[in-house]
Amino acid sequence: MTREQVLRDLGKRFGDDILGVFDKSPKRVFINLRPRAIAWVGPYIFRELGARFNIATGTDTPDGLEIIYHFTLEDLNLMLNIRVLLDRENPVIVSLGKDIEAMNWIEREMRELLGITFEGHPDPRRLLLPDNWPDGVYPLRQDYSEWDETAIRTRGV
């Protein structure tokens, strides 16, 4: 498939779930998606289109918590960036890591750094933060403040 065919195909299959498309450059396309639709759009891009999963970026924006799933279609030199926006009060999205191994770790990372719940994740343990990090403190949130100012100095946390 060519670049245009891929984009047209995605538009036809998931037209109802796509909230907007931003064709940034020949190599980068950003697609805004309804959060629940990632459950079928993500696996479609990974398995049917044969894309490589680069990584997902979680960001705390003024509108809510945002996740961008980056996929690369290597034959086309095209990066598809699927953007979903979650409610800050109740950031819940379906886990893709339960089916796709490549997504397992990054969902654990976003869970602890941003407080996003991935429903059905097979291994929702901490990945990066130490075990004595308090629950409910998410360092990549904009309202984050140091939970223990003596942490580094006295306890080596």
Partner: protein, 394 residues
């Protein structure tokens, strides 16, 4: 049969990324593996939000001490992707030279350590001696053996002087015969064939499933290289080929890395031949609002950076993904079913931080130490030695 748990790691002074591997073994067979990372989480993504775009280049350069150019390279590509823009020709050539020089020294470092773990200390000595020559080249070009500080959004910070080029080319020419000797000695060694072939196999399906990167995926037959798939620098202007093998075992991962070094040297030579005159920096005045993604092929695989700007001089979000983040989970597929004596080399085969293997300790259920890190390396060497004797090559 009773099960024992083997903790590996997490700390070692030489590691760049401390990790804790928990291996569950039945006798000698590994039946389960779990990985815990985060011991060296430095919050660089958070830190980068409080630094200007220029400063962040130096912050990300310090993420890794070995592939120290891959992070700034991906980062400046991400910043330039916000526009998007391309940098001056001469800067593209210089960037490619630095990135390939780094690949050679990184692969040599891996090769030396792999030899060390297998009891081939001659390989270790030769590889690290050669690596010094490449580090000298990098010092001539950038002023530093590592952390070159060559990159800046819009170009490079330092030009290559005309009088240095013959010196550098002579140095590169001088290491090729030794590198060829090393290649032949390793690839033709029947003991290494017996020791490494079929060990720690990562199938093509699993490599795709884990989205494995770099030599780890190319050794499994997945022809995946950002330099070919999405050319940056001058990789589309020089003549080179991607090294792909199909077996996915430790031996093939070594083959990919060894052959890649020759491609890198060829790329460096071609870059010096074609190096154009001209400016080295596009001189970015300010960064517009928007988002950019930069990904480049580091020695270990794709390094990925995402930068979002709101028009000020700082990024409001900077995401960093190192290749090991994707390659590390492949342990789940490669290490189960193998023996403890192969664990060290399988763990080392994706080129993470091998030093963690020296922190291994095997305990039985009463907590008595059966093997410590040194003993495990000894175990690995003893297996090589027994193979060597059996094959009459002692």
């Amino acid at each position: 049969m009773g099960r024992s748990v083997i903790p590996i790691g997490p700390y070692h002074p030489l590691q760049e990324e401390p990790e804790l591997f928990t291996l569950t073994v039945e006798g000698e067979r590994i039946v389960e593996v779990d990985v815990r990372i985060g011991y060296n989480h430095r919050g660089i993504e958070k830190l980068s939000e409080s630094r200007s775009f220029d400063n962040s280049t130096f912050v990300v350069e310090r993420i890794c001490g070995i592939c120290s150019t891959s992070h700034p390279f991906a980062y400046v590509r991400a910043v330039e992707d916000i526009f998007p823009m391309e940098v001056p020709d001469r800067a593209r050539y210089i960037r490619t030279i630095i990135a390939e020089g780094e690949r050679v020294h990184s692969h040599l470092l891996w090769l030396g350590l792999a030899g060390h773990f297998l009891g081939y200390n001659t390989v270790y000595m030769w590889a690290w001696k050669l690596r010094e020559e490449i580090l000298d080249v990098m010092e001539i070009l950038s002023g530093n053996r590592n952390n070159y500080a060559m990159f800046t959004p819009g170009g490079v910070r330092r030009d290559i002087r005309q009088q240095d080029i013959p010196v550098v080319l002579a140095k590169i020419d001088s290491i090729v015969p030794t590198l060829e000797m090393l290649r032949d000695a390793i690839l033709d060694d029947p003991v290494l064939h017996a020791r490494l072939k079929g060990v720690g196999v990562l199938s093509k399906e699993k490599a795709i499933e884990f989205s494995a990167l770099g030599p780890t995926s190319r050794a499994s037959g997945v022809a995946r290289d950002v330099r070919k798939d999405s050319p940056y620098g001058v990789y589309d202007r020089v003549d080179w080929k991607m090294v792909v093998t199909s077996n996915g075992d430790v031996f093939d991962k070594a083959v990919v890395r060894i052959l890649e070094m020759f491609e890198s040297i060829s790329i460096i030579r071609q870059c010096f031949e074609a190096l154009p005159e001209g400016p080295i920096n596009a001189g970015i005045e300010s960064i517009p609002p928007g988002e950019g993604i930069g990904h480049i092929e580091a020695p270990r695989g794709e390094t990925f950076h995402y930068v979002r700007s709101d028009g000020t001089n700082r990024a409001i979000r900077h995401k960093v993904r190192a290749p090991t983040f994707m390659n590390l989970p492949t342990y789940k597929a490669t290490i189960v079913g193998e023996t403890i004596s192969d664990a060290t080399i399988i763990l080392a085969s994706i080129d993470p931080c091998y030093c963690c293997t020296e922190r291994m300790a095997v305990r039985n259920h009463r907590g008595r130490v059966l093997y410590d890190g040194q003993a495990l390396v000894e175990l690995s060497r003893a297996k090589t030695e027994s193979l060597r004797r059996r094959m009459g090559r002692a």
